[in-house]
Subunit: 412 residues, 2 copies
């Protein structure tokens, strides 16, 4: 193999297809209060009707709607106030024609009543009489039994992310504990003779371990748990030992660094020697990020990421995050959801056919439009990532995009 | 005061102005690895140039660019290979005209060389000679000293949120510890005789404590720490005790429930009796969420939220989150950032003038456009929140929005 055809690259699409075949992590049961952001491991069916009783949704008077028909500001109707409903108590009165019961928002609508007249549309004349001057429709300001959620209904779907509203539904159903997928643990190994820990002053020609920290942040924000295993020098035994430790402790492994051809060969050699190992991908037709490796040891994915920090971050967004979401149990329909916003490209962008290009952009709002403004500067510079809000992709079949073209921005 | 003019409501704009005057929480110093998502409490200036040495950004040969001028596939130039640069080591050779030094991505460009020729544009003839068949520009594939970040440059700004790329910058500068604002603690008190804990089966007419759980989730996702103090029955002394406990332990207090007029009066009375208390807002001209109360005790904000879960959640998104972000130290320019996406309204929506209406919407993508599709159904139903992706606001000066109108969606 000559150096020129070193990479027999895989397309982005093919790598994403591969990722869909990765198996999920296991499940666990969590206290409801610790479940926000986690992924449901079971469908949730309602064991009850919600509400469980006809509930008033306004402060006012519970009445029979037909007793109010025809009333108006100029033709008020008089009602006999026969009681009031205390919060949290079952009413002891029932409502007949021409009668009204004082009720507060959230109170249980008494038998006989089918409507609540807002207090703003009434005038109390004395303790026992109220004037109603607006006619009420049946079920007005009443939430009926089961109107929100029906008993037996599938209300939450396995594989969806638990937001505060889903927590509310689970609370309403009395689910103080929730079955969720475990958070995948992702081991990070930095490799390279030139890398020193952050708290160490690098000699001239050495570099601080930038990538491990950015990757840890990306893993946390993507719902995983980062496990930093330290820096491995370019030594087969040392990298092999770190990889085996990672496979024992983690669900997925990221090897960061080794950006030179020699170093990549070396990483490849270590990966090939792991138990039940297979190199799935060696080079991806994306830019930046071409030298990416994806291997497996048993069922666990192992990534070899480019050494340049900006390339490593792009590969994380484009490939590692989907893989992490996949093994997290996130459903197909939620993959990447809410991380993408449509925008309009602010200038022409050239691109090379045959690879998916990823360009850093800043979002700029002008009136009603959201513009994606490409960040200029060499791709390896980390300050370009600090300036950017996200990435856009230029398809492998395209020679570029024109100013004004619609683009999807993957938000950081 | 009659029931009709019970509320002298404050506009949304005025409440948001008030929120801008809230003081920030204190600062702390965190290990870099725990800093993701936190807010920088100081500007960061670079103490070094980045890179600290001229770095190769490709695998290849370091040369003097002018020695390559005029070369091409048909007119290759011969170079004498005088050495190679090991990763992490200062080169011992220097490069003269017609000489080349083998170098890998990330390596230190040796003295004399000003350019790197990609290995793909070379052919090694023997161990000491290489053919170059493409001319190289000066500084090609070389990242110069300080090209990414200059020594002394302000690179990160106080009040900005630390993303993975900011962690990378901090790592590169050797900042193993980071000054950040503390995470505000938000106490949650549920109030109401009708509320029972989630793990308890409610009697008919009672409700499980839904709001506390959704609020806890919202607080966590907004960068705060929820502190749940339990359910206070409608009893002055009990609610007063819980509020004082909350003020002792938290930076902001949320009282949830008390949705009826009577219960609101009661909450108001307790708030007025707190140390150095002032009722700042009693009713806001928004829908849903009108009965919202904002008070202060000393410098700490205390919110009385509507009892209906959907109203409470809307008020959190519209008012409490901005307040939380404000006391978290988030800079003006980042408030609400990346939580808003522009979309197009899918149908006509009527609205009442004189209040800011908030409508739940689902985002639906059709081709290049993102549509905001209003969720129908009574506003109090929690399943409408589960179906929704965010909120749109209809301005208080508007009578509604037409199908096709541009809207901003506040994402959940």
């Amino acid at each position: 193999m000559t150096e020129k055809d070193f990479f027999r690259v895989t397309t982005l699409k093919a790598v994403l297809e591969l990722i869909r075949t990765l198996p999920c992590v296991g499940e666990e049961v969590l206290a409801l209060d610790r479940s926000v952001g986690r992924i449901l491991a079971q469908d949730v069916f309602s064991s009850i009707d919600l509400p469980e009783f006809n509930r008033a949704t306004m402060d006012g008077y519970a009445v029979q709607a037909r007793s109010t028909f025809g009333t108006s500001e100029s033709m008020p109707a008089l009602f006999a106030v026969v009681g009031s409903v205390e919060m949290g108590e079952v009413p002891t009165v029932s409502v007949k024609a021409g009668e009204a019961v004082r009720i507060a928002t959230g109170g249980m609508v008494p038998d006989g009543a089918d409507s609540v007249v807002m207090v703003e549309h009434t005038q109390a004349l004395d303790a026992h009489t109220v004037e109603v001057f607006k006619s009420a429709a049946p079920l007005q300001h009443v939430m009926e039994v089961g109107e929100d959620i029906r008993k037996g209904e599938k209300i939450l779907v396995m594989g969806s992310r638990i937001r505060p509203q889903e927590m509310g539904v689970l609370a309403a159903l009395g689910q103080a504990h929730v079955p969720v997928y475990k958070q995948p643990v992702l081991a990070i190994i930095s490799s390279g003779d030139e890398i020193v820990p952050v708290d160490q002053t690098p000699d001239l020609s050495q570099l601080r371990d930038v990538n491990a920290h950015s990757l840890a942040g990306l893993i946390s924000l993507s719902g995983g748990i980062p496990l930093y295993l330290g820096i491995g020098k370019d030594d087969f035994d040392e990298l092999d030992r770190l990889c085996r430790q990672a496979l024992a402790q983690a669900d997925m492994v990221l090897i960061s660094g080794g950006s030179s051809v020699g170093s990549r060969d070396f990483t490849l050699e270590v990966l090939q020697g792991l138990p039940d190992a297979e190199i799935l991908v060696h080079g991806v037709s994306i830019s930046p990020g071409k030298p990416t490796i994806l291997a497996r040891s048993g069922e666990k994915p192992v990534w070899g990421l480019p050494g340049q920090i900006t390339s490593a971050m792009v590969v994380f967004h484009v490939l590692v995050r989907p893989a992490l979401e996949r093994i997290s149990g996130l459903s197909e329909s939620e993959l990447g959801k809410s991380r993408q916003v449509p925008a309009v490209l602010s200038r022409n962008l050239a691109s090379v056919q045959g690879r998916d290009d990823h360009v850093r952009v800043k979002l700029v709002r002008q009136g009603e439009r959201l513009y994606a403004e490409p960040i200029l500067g060499k791709s390896g510079l980390i300050h370009t990532m600090v300036k950017a809000d996200g990435l856009i992709r230029i398809d492998r079949d395209s020679e570029g995009l024109d100013k004004g073209a619609p683009v999807e921005v993957m938000l950081f």
